[in-house]
């Protein structure tokens, strides 16, 4: 619109200029022609009268006679004639009223001009223009001058011309303005359309025509701005398609692109109108829920999951994808677009890690949340500041009720927050790489402690947990060997606990690391068995000595027949593979007896003892050796 106004004003100025030049030319052409006609007429009158006066002067050579024969002024026309002496240019009037009184000033005005050297001309006096002509009266010393008021301003043809010029000028101006208006509208519309296309291209993804990441940020900003006024909530849902890469690799990018288009279309068509579907790039989509109640968010999340569950048929091939959703909500999780985008992504990654289809943002899962950053910084120096300590949880043989060893568990005694449970700081350590020195510390401290107890006369095997990251570190066996040497602890008494999930990240390297450890004499035990998804053929090849049944099965084995059946199966499976079975999370004598009757080898849990600090454990061990029932030492159920 601004462009159109600009174009219009240029046109307007141009048209006005053209009309002005044209009008000015036409006016002066008309004016000149009228003036020339008047002068011509006056000249012929003058010639006629001067010849007549010459004849009269030849007859009677007096000035008075000449004056008597001057033409009389005709009424209305204001034609006046007078004589001028040639030597001094002095006008000579007849005193008998030839000239009206008002004519005196006009003649004075005429005299003021350079009238002695010219033969004709015009001058203005008052509001009028006067024209004059001058010619000598042959045979005398006098010139004759005729003078009249110019009729240029009153001439009818000129007046007609003016009125036509004005009216046609007006019409031309009007027509030209409309032409300009239409042209400028067409031009500006075309430009606006082109500009709109460019903006659309910059803001939308070419493949799916959905808003791109850049535009998503803008839309989110707008939604937040609106929500601020109405105190509403805005949710950003980030959708990651988990199996998309497989499709791309197996069937090519063209099929992958068409799959993305189909997904975009399905999402877009099935969503509520006020919710905006966008594409963040790659296999990541997003949704902005402008008015986001908890109900609506979960409805949308479930809908997305349902939609992605239905296979997409491309070229007759059904392709299924899995969507993982991360949700961040304004104002709870952040008050600007960038924060929400980052946090929704964090939520998506942590949902994927925990195997959920969707998850809300939780600060404790965020590697960059303030609390975690603090904890990370503090965790780095925790070992040096002696804030880390070990707790030991005993394991008991079911067959004879004898103590067989301990699991060393790391605790962090934070100077401000007190005892921090491992589930809060171990994930941080794993994500930041602190897990390496931390595991080193745990191994060394537990070996040193057990070596001490050994010297005191207690043969204790100790087990420590190994994180996924370390399991894929080929230098691990070397470091373990070093620690064994340093602490003087025998390798056969050390047991490393690994989880199925950690093993399956890269079974090749993990298997290699485990073989070396096994060759060194270190015992290996498979932790949380049954909760992951390990291949049995892989399990068969692993040099594992013990299998620990995940506590989730043990806890409910007496009430849930399914869990009970799984426990039985794992016990049989472990025995068939030549492993001993340890049940974790044993909390009652009923479970203890049930496991005993099913042939489980060993147990660990609150029923035996909670994890104890070194000093308390030694007391527990002494009582144990004196033959007291394990449950007598059961402590409070706090980790």
């Amino acid at each position: 619109m601004q462009l159109r106004n600009q174009l219009l004003s240029y046109f307007f100025i141009l048209i006005l200029a053209v009309i002005s030049i044209f009008g000015w030319n036409a006016y002066y052409f008309a004016y000149d022609s009228v003036r020339r006609t008047e002068h011509g007429m006056m000249q012929s009158q003058l010639t006629h009268h001067s010849e007549m006066l010459a004849r009269e002067y030849a007859r009677v050579k007096t000035l008075q006679h000449l004056l008597n024969h001057l033409p009389r002024p005709e009424s209305g026309e204001l034609l006046n004639a007078f004589l001028v002496r040639q030597n001094d240019n002095e006008p000579i009037f007849d005193s008998a009223g030839i000239l009206p009184k008002k004519f005196d000033g006009i003649v004075d005005r005429w005299r003021a001009l350079d009238s002695s050297t010219q033969h004709q001309g015009n001058f203005s006096y008052g509001d009028d223009v006067y024209i004059w002509s001058r010619a000598p009266v042959p045979g005398s010393f006098y010139d004759m001058v005729v003078m009249r008021k110019s009729s240029v301003t009153q001439t009818a043809p000129l007046k007609t011309l003016y009125s036509r010029l004005a009216v046609t000028g007006l019409i031309v101006l009007w027509v030209a303005l409309w032409v300009a208006l239409i042209i400028s509208t067409v031009v500006s519309r075309r430009l606006a359309r082109q500009q709109q296309e460019l903006v659309h291209q910059a803001n939308h993804d070419n493949l799916t025509q959905l808003p791109n990441r850049h535009h998503t940020r803008q839309l989110l900003k707008q939604a937040i701005k609106q929500a601020k006024h109405g105190k509403a909530t805005v949710a950003l849902v980030i959708i990651d398609l988990d199996r998309f890469k497989e499709v791309n690799d197996a069937l090519g990018h063209e099929v992958g692109d068409r799959l993305l288009q189909n997904i975009a279309q399905r999402f877009n068509e099935s969503m509520w109108q006020q919710d905006k579907v966008t594409r963040m790039g790659g296999n990541e989509f997003a949704m902005i829920l402008a008015i986001a109640s908890e109900d609506h968010i979960s409805r949308v999340a479930n809908k997305v999951i349902d939609l992605s569950d239905v296979p997409f048929v491309i070229d007759g091939t059904p392709l299924s994808i899995e969507a993982t959703l991360g949700i961040a909500v304004y104002p709870r999780d952040g008050n600007n677009a960038d924060t929400l985008m980052r946090k929704a992504e964090v939520a998506m990654y942590s949902a994927r890690e925990t195997g959920q289809a969707f998850g809300y943002y939780q600060p404790e899962n965020d590697p960059h949340s303030r609390e975690r950053l603090h904890l990370t910084a503090e965790l780095r120096g925790a070992a040096e500041r002696k804030e880390l300590l070990l707790h030991f949880q005993p394991k008991m043989n079911l067959a004879d009720g004898k103590f067989i060893g301990v699991e060393a568990l790391c605790r962090w005694n934070h100077p401000v927050q007190g005892l921090i449970p491992p589930n809060r700081f171990i994930p941080i350590a794993e994500q930041t790489g602190i897990i390496r020195p931390l595991t080193n510390w745990v191994l060394e401290a537990s070996m040193r402690q057990c070596a001490q107890w050994q010297r005191d006369g207690h043969d204790i095997t100790v087990s420590a947990n190994l994180s996924a990251r370390l399991l894929h570190d080929i230098n691990l066996p070397g470091r373990v060997a070093e620690l064994l040497k340093k602490t003087g602890f025998p390798a056969e008494m050390l047991e490393l606990e690994i989880t199925e999930t950690a093993l399956m990240i890269d079974p090749g390297i993990a298997g290699e690391v485990l073989s070396v450890l096994h060759a060194m004499g270190v015992k290996l035990s498979l932790d949380d068995f049954g909760a992951g998804y390990m291949s049995l053929s892989y399990l068969r090849q692993l040099p594992v000595n013990h299998i620990k049944i995940d506590m989730s099965f043990i806890r409910n084995m007496l009430i849930d027949p399914g869990d009970s059946m799984i426990v039985n199966t794992i016990i049989d499976l472990a025995h068939n593979l030549g492993c001993t079975v340890i049940a974790e999370g044993v909390e009652s004598s009923e479970v203890y007896s049930a496991l005993h009757s099913r042939g489980c080898d060993a147990v660990q849990g609150y029923y035996i003892s909670r994890p104890l600090p070194a000093a308390d454990f030694k007391l527990w061990l002494q009582k144990q050796e004196r033959g007291l029932h394990p449950s007598a030492t059961k402590g409070p159920r706090a980790l």
């Binding site: 007046k159 007609t160 009125s163 036509r164 009216v167 046609t168 007006l170 019409i171």
Partner: protein, 73 residues
């Protein structure tokens, strides 16, 4: 029939111009004496008068302009 698209000051100017020009062209014979100029002005002014009576300008519709407050294209 036609959605009005002339209103406000636009309507007032059109009506004023239309009335003045038709008066000069067809009623008063002293201001303009030339018949050609009178007819030309008369037809021209008549257009303004008609568009102000119907409050509708076809050219506005063509360029998508609207000076009326009651609605927009």
């Amino acid at each position: 029939m036609f959605k009005p698209n002339v209103g406000g000051i636009d309507w007032i100017l059109r009506a004023g111009f239309g009335v003045t020009t038709t008066y000069i062209a067809f009623i008063d014979d002293k201001i303009l004496t030339d018949p050609f100029a009178r007819w030309a002005l008369g037809i021209f002014g008549f257009i303004f008068l008609v568009t102000s009576i119907f409050r509708f300008c076809p050219l506005y519709r063509l360029i998508g302009f609207n000076s009326s407050k009651t609605g927009s294209d």
